[in-house]
């Protein structure tokens, strides 16, 4: 009993984040961000919500009333090869794309603080990928796991800026490296 108690406690604590992130990733893929009735975001694609949180619209992942940024989200599966994240020229606007592994570790960012706001194409590769990096790739990001949760946040400067912010945020997208061409 004591052995099961001790080992069980450790095992539960150890795997708890993995179970939780697994559920989050499944929610994103099957139901997206908009609640149980919305459509999912297929693996290796990203989706940007066109509106901020409001009393009638709150995303399913976190209900925290974020009135500052538009969310972009998606789940990457790098087991079949890398993906390329494209970000448009944000012209100084705050944005960040956060990369989280299935244990909850935030292993990289692309965005105003870390890479600046110029347009770029970031190669996201899984562990053990040693292919050739094509010309035109801004930077390589090596993920510690083939499953990656991607969350983007793009600043909305006010009511009148929503359309402009969305127009930029929706240009954040991913393409498999095998289908990616420079300046596409």
């Amino acid at each position: 009993m004591l052995v099961v108690w001790g080992a069980g406690t450790y095992t539960f604590i150890y795997f708890f984040p993995r179970l939780l992130y697994n559920r989050v990733e499944n929610t994103v893929v099957n139901h997206g961000l908009g609640g149980s009735d919305s459509t999912g975001i297929p693996v290796n694609t990203v989706y940007t919500m066109p509106a901020l949180a409001s009393p009638t619209r709150s995303n399913s992942l976190q209900s925290t009333g974020n009135r500052d940024t538009l969310y972009t989200a998606g789940v990457l599966d790098l087991s079949k090869g890398p993906q390329v994240l494209h970000v448009p020229d944000m012209a100084g606007r705050y944005y960040a794309v956060q990369f989280t592994d299935p244990w909850g570790t935030v292993f990289a960012y692309v965005g105003r603080r870390t890479t600046g706001t110029k347009a770029g194409d970031y190669l996201i590769s899984g562990p053990g990928w040693h292919g050739r990096i094509p010309k035109g790739i801004t930077k390589q990001i090596v993920a510690p796991n083939n499953t990656v949760l991607l969350i983007g946040r793009t600043l909305v400067k006010g009511e009148g800026d929503l359309a402009a912010a969305y127009e930029l945020a929706r240009q954040i997208r991913v393409t498999p490296l095998s289908q990616w061409h420079r300046d596409q």
């Binding site: 080992a7 989050v24 949180a53 009393p55 709150s58 974020n66 600043l155």
Partner: protein
């Protein structure tokens, strides 16, 4: 006699097997409960509260141990690293009383006392569950983009209350009638925040 002996052995074996199974079951239940207790304790341990404002700045880091990792997954899944954004929440005023829309409050930032950042900041009110509550003015947050008006001495007062504060509409954060929760978000926070030196001023009830 010759028939009773084997059935006695069998029942002894059964009892031992049942004991072992029961032990494993009790162990597993205890493990589950212990793990949840440890995770909950860690959620509280990694949170710092000053002036009624709570903040956790440990989540998402690659160096986190398994207990911190589990507590972060439980309390703050998908949260930004602190260098990207810091989040304070408050459900109590500066004197430890629950925040409620039945009272009126002021959050006073002394001159130069707004949260240091190189991106933006905002203050939002939600219900206790974290949901925005509709108000007829469609106003849900104040911050660097909301046109806050400074006092003559450059300090800033934010009026946190359910009804309109006459003459202070620009600095008004509407709140629900019941208990509420405040969220202070600071993106690309300054060094004073990351070092823990900066403290958000207390939310003070106005009598």
């Amino acid at each position: 006699m010759s028939q009773a002996f084997p059935s006695l052995t069998l029942s002894r074996v059964l009892i031992i097997v049942l004991d072992v199974l029961l032990g494993m079951f009790v162990g597993a239940v205890l493990a589950f409960v212990t793990a949840l207790l440890l995770i909950t304790a860690q959620v509280h341990a990694m949170q710092t509260t000053v002036n009624g404002w709570s903040i956790t700045m440990t989540c998402g880091k690659v160096t986190n141990g398994i207990l911190v990792r589990a507590a972060c997954a439980e309390a703050l899944p998908m949260v930004n690293l602190p260098e990207e954004a810091t989040y304070w929440t408050a459900t109590e005023d500066g004197s430890g009383q629950e925040l409620t829309g039945r009272h009126t409050y002021v959050l006073h930032f002394p001159p130069g006392g707004l949260p240091p950042n190189s991106a933006f900041w905002s203050l939002t009110a939600t219900n206790i569950q974290g949901r925005l509550v509709a108000n007829p003015f469609n106003r849900y947050s104040v911050g660097d983009r909301s046109g806050l008006v400074a006092n003559p001495d450059d300090s800033i007062d934010i009026y946190i209350q359910h009804g309109v504060p006459a003459g202070h509409e620009a600095n008004w954060l509407p709140v629900p009638t019941g208990n509420f929760k405040l969220w202070l978000r600071v993106y690309q926070p300054g060094a004073a925040i990351l070092s823990g030196k900066y403290h958000v001023p207390p939310v003070m009830e106005v009598h």
